[in-house]
Amino acid sequence: MTLINKNAKQLHAPIVSNKRVGQYHQIIINIGEVAATCKPGNFVAISVGGDSSRMVLRRAFAISRVSTSSAVGGTMELIVAPHGQGSKWLCQQGEGVVLDLVAPLGTAFGIPTEPVSVLLVGGGYGSAPLFGLAELLNARGCRVDMLLGASTGSKIYAPMEGKRSVNSMRIYTEDGSMGTAGRVTDPIPEIVRDLNVAVIYSCGPMPMLAAITKISNELDVVHQCAVEESMACGIGICMTCVLPVENEDGTISNLRSCIDGPVMDGSKVQWDRVGEQL
C-alpha cells in the first residue's frame, strides 16, 4: 500500500509577494525545501482568516508553479480568484504575512516517457497550473500546444512568459471579447488529428472536463484532468470531495479528489453521475 500524503508537510510560510493580475491575484509564498517535492497538478491547503476566524476549514488551491532557485529560496505561485470568503481573505494578505499551509497534496500530472505531442486545455484561472506543466513537458521534448477558454476575456489567465514553453496558444471566449468567439472545446478534435496529440491535459470547470472527456474517448486519446471539488480537509479524512470513478473491475466508487485526485484519468470519471446516489 502506497503512503497517503507522502510528501505533505505542514509549515508556516511567509508571503513573498501578492499582485493583482486582471481578475486574479498572483501570490508567491516562500516554502523552502518543500518546493522541490511539488509537481504540476499538486495542490496546497491553506488555513484562512487568522486565529479568531469563524472559517474552520482549510482552502485548497492548485499550485500553479514552483521555483527552487528564487532569491529567497524555494517558492510556490498561486493564482487565486477572490470569490469566496476564504479566497478573498487570502488575496488581502500582503508581503510578510505568514500562512499555515500543507503541501504538496494530491496526485500530479503524469509525464509521457516519450517526447510526444500534447495539448493543454485550461478554463478560466484553471489554466494556472498548466504553465508549470508546459515548462516541464517542453523540457522533456514534447510539442506543447495550449487552448485557453473562459466566458469573457477578463477571466482568461495567460501570463506573457507562459507563451515561452508552448508552440501555440489559442484563446476562446464565449462572448468573443478576447481571441475567437466560441468554446475552448470546439477546436480540440481538429488539433488532435492534425498534430497527432497523444495526451490532453486539462484543468478547469467540471462541464469543460466532461466535454473534453467525450472528445478524448471518441478520438481514443489519453485525457488527464485536474478536478475541482469542494473539500473540507484536503488530506483524505473528511470524505466530502468524492467523485464517481470507474474501478479496474468496472464497478464505480466514490473516490476522494484530494488523494485519488485532483489529477484523474478523465475516461474513468463518471461525469454524468456526479451528484447522483450510487
Binding site: M1, L3, I4, N5, K6, A8, Q10, S47, R54, M55, V56, L57, R58, D100, V102, E229, S230, M231, A232, C233, I235, G236, I237, C238, M239, T240, C241, V242, L243, S253, N254, I259, V274, G275, E276, Q277, L278
Partner: protein, 313 residues
C-alpha cells in the same frame, strides 16, 4: 519533569492519553500518519464501518457554516471484511490504540459486526455508533429511541461477551439524553461518546434549494461546543461512574479541558483535524500543560471537577 498521570480508562481499556480521533473524522487513520505517529495520541476511533461496501450520499456533501460545517457523507466505507483485512492491521502495526466504530441499519447488523470483531486482536474497545444523522430514514437513528438504543447495545453485549469495552455514541437531538444514556448503560455499555453531530440544513439562496445532496447534514465544529459541554455535564451528573468521551467542536487544549471539567474522561477531535492535520497533538499537549498549571496530579482528578460543590456548602 511533571509526573501528572495523563492516562484514562474506559472499561478495561487503558489509554496513555485522553485524546482520540472522532469517528468519521480520520478515515482509516492512515491519512494522518504522515503528520504525526499515530501511537502518540490516546487512540484512533475509526470511521464507522458497516457490513457491506457503502457508497455514501451524493455530492455536495459539505457546507461550511459560521464556526462549523455541515457534512452529509452517509457512512461511505469499505465494509467490515475489507476493513478488518486492511485497516486494522495497519493501525496495529503502527502501535496505535484502536477503537473500532460500527454502524448498522438493523439491530441484527450491529450484532453481526460485533461477532466479526470478537476474535480480532489489537482492538481496545468498540464504539457503537447509533446516532449517525445521515441516514435516509430518521426512524433508523436508534439513539433517538430509548428502546431501540437499549436493544442495539444489548445485542452487541450478548455477542461479544464481557471482554471488550462498548462505547455507545449518542445523539444530542433528543428530548431526554440522560434517560437514553441510562438505558444503554443498563444494557451493557461501558462508556459513552457524546455528542454526534447536530442535524442541520443550509439552503443555497442562488439555486434556492437545499445545498447538500442529502438535503440535511450533521453540524460539527466550535458552533456546537456548548451543546456538547451541556450534554456531557448532564450525563456525568446522572452517571458519574461512567466514562464519557466528550466531543463537539474541540479545537484547543482549553476546549478539551472544558469538556474534562464537565465530566468527560477523554476527548475526541473531529472537525479541528480537517482544519489542521496536527490539531490532535497540539490539543493533547496543551491539555496536559493546562492540567499541570492547575495543580492536578492526574487527569482523573479533573474529570467532572466543574460539578464539585461550591465552597461553604
Amino acid at each position: 519533569m511533571s509526573t501528572m498521570d495523563f492516562s484514562t480508562t474506559i472499561g478495561n481499556a487503558w489509554f496513555p492519553a485522553p485524546t482520540f480521533t472522532a469517528s468519521g473524522c480520520a478515515s482509516s487513520g492512515r491519512e494522518l500518519a504522515q503528520f504525526f505517529p499515530l501511537r502518540d495520541m490516546g487512540g484512533v476511533v475509526t470511521k464507522s464501518v458497516m457490513s457491506k461496501v457503502r457508497p455514501g450520499r451524493p455530492t455536495p456533501r459539505m457546507a461550511e457554516t459560521p464556526s462549523g460545517m455541515l457534512n452529509s457523507i452517509g457512512l461511505q466505507g469499505p465494509g467490515i471484511d475489507a476493513f478488518l483485512a486492511k485497516d486494522v492491521p495497519y493501525l496495529v502495526e503502527q502501535k496505535a490504540r484502536v477503537i473500532v466504530s460500527i454502524a448498522g441499519e438493523t439491530i441484527e447488523e450491529y450484532s453481526t459486526l460485533a461477532r466479526k470483531l470478537r476474535a480480532v486482536s489489537g482492538i481496545s474497545a468498540i464504539e457503537v455508533n447509533i446516532s449517525c444523522p445521515n441516514v435516509e430514514n430518521r426512524g433508523l437513528v436508534f439513539a433517538c429511541d430509548p428502546e431501540a438504543s437499549r436493544r442495539v447495545i444489548d445485542g452487541v453485549r450478548r455477542t461479544i461477551g464481557g471482554e471488550l469495552p462498548i462505547i455507545a455514541k449518542l445523539s444530542p437531538d433528543v428530548t431526554d439524553l440522560v434517560s437514553i444514556a441510562k438505558g444503554v448503560v443498563d444494557s451493557g455499555a461501558d462508556g459513552l461518546a457524546l455528542i454526534n453531530t447536530v442535524l442541520g440544513m443550509v439552503i443555497n439562496v442562488d439555486t434556492m434549494r437545499p445545498h447538500l445532496g442529502g438535503k440535511t447534514g450533521g453540524l460539527s465544529g466550535p458552533a456546537i461546543r456548548p451543546i456538547a459541554v451541556r450534554a456531557v455535564y448532564q450525563v456525568h451528573a446522572a452517571l458519574p461512574q461512567i466514562p464519557i468521551i466528550g466531543m463537539g467542536g474541540i479545537a484547543s487544549g482549553k476546549d478539551a479541558l472544558e469538556m474534562i471539567l464537565a465530566g468527560a474522561s477523554g476527548v475526541s477531535i473531529g472537525t479541528a483535524s480537517f482544519g489542521n492535520p496536527t490539531a490532535i497533538m497540539s490539543i493533547q499537549n496543551e491539555l496536559k500543560q493546562l492540567l499541570i498549571d492547575r495543580g492536578f496530579n492526574s487527569l482523573k482528578q479533573a474529570v467532572g471537577y466543574a460539578h464539585r460543590p461550591t465552597e461553604g456548602e
